[in-house]
């Protein structure tokens, strides 16, 4: 990510963590006359919790309104259409189905429906067996009925974060990546914040949106003690050609620990199955495991029997940053001055993220920071053309304007050289950064054909040495030597 190197920045607000929450908070604050900096320890934004999750904008029926997360979910869901117009990220309200496989489960559907109605979930509908198969012919024939939430949708979480961050940057927010906060002290009315690499900065207000490490950051700033419990979710990604692709997101009836394993038609046309839910200890353990992966296939087949392991193109896992009580913890710290906690943002964190931004903006004001609107705030980001979205005539015009659009670098996802070069120019200078920004390497060959081309483009556009080409940050160098 285009990152500011300023060694001794002095700002009004520092947001620790450039994931979904942090970036939405940054964009909200970018509308005011404030110096805002968005910090992240990784090489790019959205490389923590927000990199690997289900990418679902939830339908507003899973949680009771007594929870903050439920209130923010409802509000966040409603904000997505406008955000899509402003920020040009792929998003589709494909709808959600919860499928009951027996009468016992159908009773729970009844409960979800009532809850959804109370929550004000728009268009929510109890479905007979017939209605379920009308909506989704590929469902397990054992389905006895279910719930339809047409307001649910899908997006790619990292792609959304990239757009939000771009908008925030356009409106003056500084983004500093590779900045791992290791120490902080009060310096007058400010915090002096130290990074692992020795860089420092000062801020009047600090927002802790550090995801899995929110507990650690809270401790560094002398704020509340709590514990983030990582809960791992493993996924399989299926080829876009799979016969198992449903029309809508398919949920089983939820269990006590999670919303269960889903079959998700991603907004980009592939299919995601998962996640598992396993409490672990190591916050950096993103490994996948055979037993869990077998479980995913079993469970996904219970929703859509056509799910086949031959369609699998990759497996990955993500971690949910959960708190013991299961709710979000978003509040002004009672212990550390001018410090705002945004912790425990697990599901439905993505849905809620825009509302979290709004909510935290108000907390920053409540904490004493004066918010004066900027007249020049521009909510729109420039649209990036993608050849895969265009017909041949439009694509031809684009190639006439810039020939690099005619050079298809990633054949599986149809990504052109121009799109990759644009990603590099926007600061995505690792293979993963480019992959998450453009989708190059995300398809069925998983970079087998295009990796070397992207490596060459990176060298050409940035002038860096082959030895410094990374998959994702320091230590992940791809090439050891040259002949």
């Amino acid at each position: 990510m285009a990152s500011t190197d300023a060694a001794a920045l002095r700002v009004d607000v520092a947001i620790v963590g450039a994931g979904l929450s942090g970036s939405c908070i940054a964009r909200q604050l970018s509308a005011y006359k404030l110096d805002v900096v968005l910090l992240d320890k990784e090489c790019d934004v959205s490389m923590g919790v927000s990199r690997a999750n289900s990418g679902i904008v939830h339908g507003g029926f899973h949680h009771n309104l007594k929870y903050l997360k439920s209130r923010l979910e409802i509000r966040g869901n409603l904000m997505y259409d406008r955000l899509q117009r402003e920020l040009d990220f792929p998003f589709k309200r494909c709808g959600i189905l919860v499928a009951a496989l027996n009468d016992e489960e159908m009773k729970y559907i009844d409960h979800l429906y009532t809850q959804g109605v109370e929550n004000g979930a728009i268009g929510i509908e109890m479905c007979s067996r017939e209605r379920m198969f009308e909506l989704e012919p590929k469902l397990n024939p054992d389905c006895v009925g279910g719930l339809h939430a047409p307001g649910g949708g899908v997006l790619e979480p990292y792609r959304f974060v990239f757009s939000v961050v771009e908008s925030a940057q356009k409106n003056g927010v500084e983004v500093v990546t590779g900045f791992e906060v290791v120490h902080a002290e009060r310096a007058g009315e400010r915090y002096r914040i130290h990074a692992a690499d020795g860089r420092q900065m000062e801020a009047r207000y600090v927002v802790n949106a550090a995801g899995l490490f929110a507990d650690r950051v809270s401790e560094i700033f002398g704020a509340e003690e709590f514990q983030i419990i990582p809960r791992k979710g493993e996924y399989f990604l299926l080829d876009r050609a799979t016969e198992a692709a449903p029309q809508r997101v398919l949920f089983p009836v939820p269990t006590k620990v999670s919303k269960g394993m889903l079959v998700i038609p991603t907004v980009e046309g592939t299919v995601l199955i998962g996640p598992t839910a396993q409490e672990i200890e190591d916050k950096e353990d993103l490994s996948t495991n055979t037993d869990q992966l077998n479980l995913i296939l079993d469970q996904a087949r219970k929703m859509v029997p056509k799910v086949s392991q031959t369609d699998v193109i990759t497996a990955f896992s993500g971690l949910r940053p959960a708190l013991a009580d299961g709710d979000f913890y978003i509040d002004i710290s009672a212990k550390a001055p001018n410090f705002i906690q945004v912790a425990g943002i697990q599901s439905p964190g993505l849905t809620a993220a825009p509302a979290i931004g709004e909510y935290v903006k108000d907390l920053v004001k409540k904490a004493g920071c004066s918010l004066v609107e900027k007249a020049e705030w521009d909510p729109y980001v420039s649209k990036l053309p993608r050849i895969r979205d265009l017909g041949p005539y439009e694509a031809d015009n684009l190639v006439n304007a810039n020939p690099a659009y005619g050079n298809v670098v990633c054949r599986c996802e149809e990504i052109s050289e121009a799109e990759i070069v644009e990603a590099i120019h926007r600061g995505h200078t690792t293979l993963d950064g480019i992959k998450y920004f453009t989708r190059a390497g995300m398809g069925r060959c998983q970079g087998g054909f295009c990796s070397y081309k992207i490596i060459k483009l990176l060298i050409r556009e940035t002038g860096i040495s082959y030895k410094d080409i990374q998959k994702c940050g320091a230590g992940s160098e791809l090439l050891r030597d040259a002949l």
């Binding site: 990759t314 041949p392 005619g406 298809v408 054949r411 149809e414 069925r444 060959c445 087998g448 090439l479």
Partner: protein
């Protein structure tokens, strides 16, 4: 060869609307198959466009710098680039329009005139229409996701072909301590290549109880360097935070990784040589019917797919072991495509069925009035096996095969006289089996 740029200037430049070119035959892909097919089309005096997405011709042959090619096509032992160069020179001398750096993104094949949309930085978006299309797109490598190897997802996991490209063409060395999964020929060749660029290859791990590659490659790529080959083993876990640090290797007991007898190998690189998949996404979208055994098109005795006028050959039809056989098969596809343009079609065809111990057989039809070469793969490992061909359950041909194994493609020539004298009916079936 007509330089495509001048052809383009003549027909397209300055015109309004979609740029369109018309040919008798369009060949998609300019590797060993596409080059041979295009040359044959041109030899038969039909106009031909050859479209290639890379900037060079020759496809994957260019990075296969080892020897072992050409023994059948050219009667001498060549390297991949030498094999390709001979094909390329022939195509350059012929009347074929070659479009490099041009990717076909869509094929509309349902009408008499097929249309392909081609993206290129030089030409923009072109519509090439042709009466016949030959699919020669080759294959892609199976990757980590396809074999579902668990563990972390660090840098340092490469498919063998990508590593081969990086080393042989770009001159980069992806890693210094290497473990290779899969003992197919690409994996073995890369074991030697990595050793010869100064890396240490610690092991080759093969899931089958027998090696998948040629014995001569086991000897000259592994034994020469004392690289251990673990048969009936799998890499059961990849570890390493940023870069591969080690892998866990497990013996298979009844097909399941045996955790108790697992061991670790420290390495910074894992190369995967775990099979190839014909790259038929374009074909499938065009409506071509696919054989689930080969992942390639179902073709008749003339290499024609389920869509009239669309032909398939080489690794996109089924994964071959030898480029020589790819070229041979592609030549037939080229000749048949021209035959199709001239309404020369078989009078009758009978179905060919994979019988006992045969995984698949290509093509799927036989024209009893024409000799044909059938390619097939065994399901078993056996010395002194017997090949039997039956017509409607009656044996018509028998051959001895000195050695069969699933990883080695076999072939048999079938001639009209083999079935002459038998009563051939409309629904007659030839069954090929191995005992």
């Amino acid at each position: 060869m007509v330089p495509a740029a001048s052809f383009y200037a003549m027909h397209c430049e300055g015109r309004e609307g979609m740029k369109e070119l018309q040919y008798d035959v369009l060949v998609i892909g300019a590797g060993a198959a596409g080059l041979a097919a295009a040359l044959e089309v041109s030899r038969n005096n039909a106009s031909c466009a050859l479209v290639e997405r890379e900037s060079h011709l020759g496809g994957i042959l260019i990075q296969c710098i080892h020897n072992g090619f050409g023994l059948e096509e050219y009667k001498e032992e060549l390297t991949g680039p030498e094999f390709a160069e001979r094909q390329i020179q022939a195509v350059r001398a012929a009347d074929v329009d070659v479009f490099t750096d041009t990717t076909v993104t869509q094929l509309n094949a349902e009408n008499d005139r097929k249309e392909a949309y081609c993206y290129s930085a030089v030409y923009g978006v072109l519509r090439i229409s042709a009466r016949a299309v030959i699919l020669a797109m080759g294959c892609r490598e199976r990757n980590r996701g396809n074999i579902r190897t668990p563990g972390t997802r660090p840098a340092g996991v490469y498919t063998a072909g990508l590593a081969q490209r990086l080393v042989n063409i770009e001159g980069y060395i992806p890693g210094k301590d290497v473990v290779i999964v899969g003992s197919g020929d690409i994996g073995l060749i890369m074991a030697r290549r990595m050793t010869w660029v100064g890396a240490k290859v610690h092991a080759v791990i093969e899931i089958q109880p027998y090696p998948s590659g040629l014995t001569r490659n086991i000897v000259q790529c592994l034994n020469d360097f004392e690289i251990p080959l673990y048969l009936s083993h799998v890499v059961s876990r990849i570890e390493g935070k940023h870069r591969v640090e080690k892998v866990q290797v497990s013996p298979l007991t009844h097909g399941i990784p045996d955790d108790e007898n697992s061991f670790e190998i420290q390495c910074d690189t894992l190369l995967l040589s775990v099979g190839l998949i014909p790259e038929n996404e374009l074909s499938k979208e065009a409506g071509v019917e696919i054989n689930s055994q080969t992942n390639g098109a179902l073709v008749d005795a003339t290499m024609m797919t389920s869509i009239d006028g669309v032909f398939s050959c080489g690794n996109v039809l089924h994964v071959h072991d030898l480029a020589d056989w790819v070229a041979e098969e592609a030549r037939r596809a080229g000749a048949y495509a021209v035959g199709y343009l001239r309404n020369e079609r078989p009078k009758r065809q009978m179905r060919i069925k994979a019988g006992a111990n045969v995984r698949y057989i290509n093509p799927a039809m036989f024209d009893p009035d024409n000799p044909d070469k059938l390619y097939f793969r065994s399901l078993i490992v056996k010395n002194q096996a017997k090949l039997q061909i039956k017509l409607d359950h009656k044996p018509v041909k028998e051959l001895r095969l000195s050695h069969v194994q699933p990883s080695e493609m076999l072939h048999v020539n079938l001639k009209p006289k083999d079935v002459a004298g038998w009563n051939i009916m409309k629904d007659s079936v030839l069954e090929v089996s191995i005992e």
